[in-house]
Symmetry: C2
Subunit: 291 residues, 2 copies
Amino acid sequence: MELRQLKYFIRTAEVLNFTEAANDLFISQSTLSQQIKQLEEELDILLFDRVGKKIRLTEAGSLFLTYARQALQDTKDGKQIIEDLKELKTGSLNIGVTYGLSALLTDTIVSFSKRYPQIKITVDFGTSEDLLEKLKIAKIDFVLSFLQLPADDAFLSQVLFDSKLALVVHPSHPVAKEKTIDVKELQNICLALPAKGFNTRDFLEGAFTKNNISPSVKVELNDINMLLQLVETGNWCTVLTMASVKGRSNLKTIPITGIDIIRQASITWFKDVYRKKAANAFTEMIQSQIY
Amino acid sequence: MELRQLKYFIRTAEVLNFTEAANDLFISQSTLSQQIKQLEEELDILLFDRVGKKIRLTEAGSLFLTYARQALQDTKDGKQIIEDLKELKTGSLNIGVTYGLSALLTDTIVSFSKRYPQIKITVDFGTSEDLLEKLKIAKIDFVLSFLQLPADDAFLSQVLFDSKLALVVHPSHPVAKEKTIDVKELQNICLALPAKGFNTRDFLEGAFTKNNISPSVKVELNDINMLLQLVETGNWCTVLTMASVKGRSNLKTIPITGIDIIRQASITWFKDVYRKKAANAFTEMIQSQIY
DNA sequence: TCATTGCTATCGGTTAAACCGATTGATCAT
DNA sequence: ATGATCAATCGGTTTAACCGATAGCAATGA
């Protein structure tokens, strides 16, 4: 039994005339006759009564017709959902993002979801390691992070934009009046920093070591939002990329001088896997919102 | 797209390994690879991600899988219902019967319906002409009647049993004490007969004419049940085949002498049409109940 | 580091079956 | 009667499903 035969059968049942059905189906009458016969042999029952030069459905044919129609409809539905997927009328998008880039994501999610309301978005926060692991097993479609990867890896990265590290302070804080601050001066400030293992933190540590600095880290935590809340109390300062503080108008960012503090926000894909159209559309949207 | 390809796709999605799936499907790996590719080309989307030596479903593949499974299930259901039909676990039976044979039918319907409870029985009462017309357009599966047809017709008849015509009287009626009654004596009796056009009536008229008799028909009606009810009042007698009075123990039948009064109950099929298994089973049951 | 294994894609050739045109036999309308 | 119309059947052709062999690539282990 093949879908082809079901199509033939359905059309024949509709017009109850082999010759006409064959024309409709763009096959010869003999072929149609053969194919119907084949179907009848497989089911071991007559689907049509051949009475004189007329044919009509048998009870079996009538019962079977329903199922044949349904089967065909299912394949049409299957095709349709794939077309919908291509036009972003359905589907899902799983985004992995490191904490430092979450602020950036919000705007894009809002406009993407407005443009493609049928697509279900799931955002997965985590460390770079966690996210790359999930990327490998296709739990997420791509990762937004500050991570730079070796080129010969299973991953493929693409830079989105540069973002400088800056001291983040509350306006009431004493250093808030400074235009810039030298990296060495950080030693004199009460810092709350992302926990070790966090990408930005690790990057910072490297910079500190290189400059022989050991700032006083009073608080460490693994949640950027809470970190910024602490800074908002005015008791602590922190160091983050400018991008991480986007949308926090009640905080001040002070450029740090004396070290190379440029970080590159990037998007990372798993090599060789099919890229969802939704994923491509989303990243294009991110990029257009940056520039 | 063919069911074959859907089967291949489903199995491959289940084991996520072309080689293994090909073995399960008893085809070569190369064939499977080709067929999946063909399916992907038709849908214009990748169904599997080939990452290294592993494969996994894409979002499209995952969505499509549901529909592929459903389509296949529908064909299985279609096959199943036909198997059920063969085993008389489903289906319908449409019986045409003339009024004179309705009494006979009751018992068989009871036992048939007990044996094959899933089969829906519809009984169509009518005149022979009506019923043959319905037989022609497959509204009914066969006709039970006293009608004899010309052999060269589109119909095919088969005799079930002989049934003599008899005078039907109520025990309180004066003639009830007679063992037999001559056809000529019918003239002296108040008769209630089936309406003209009814098979038995037409047959009777022929017999009357041949014997130069013109009995006094006081009542004519087109419902055997009501006719017998009238006879039960004791005011009228009627003439019917013995078979028609089956189950009416409160009525007496008196054989009529002097004319050829044997009628043949028969079953009539439409030539060349597929005979439902249920119809065959039913008629076998009728015949076994007769003898 | 290099061979080995395990996997999919592709190539050329074979085979099965879908397909066609022509014909037959039958029914139906004129 | 006769021509028109329809489905079934018969060879012959063509399409495409299928196979084995092999290439190419990743994962694994020595």
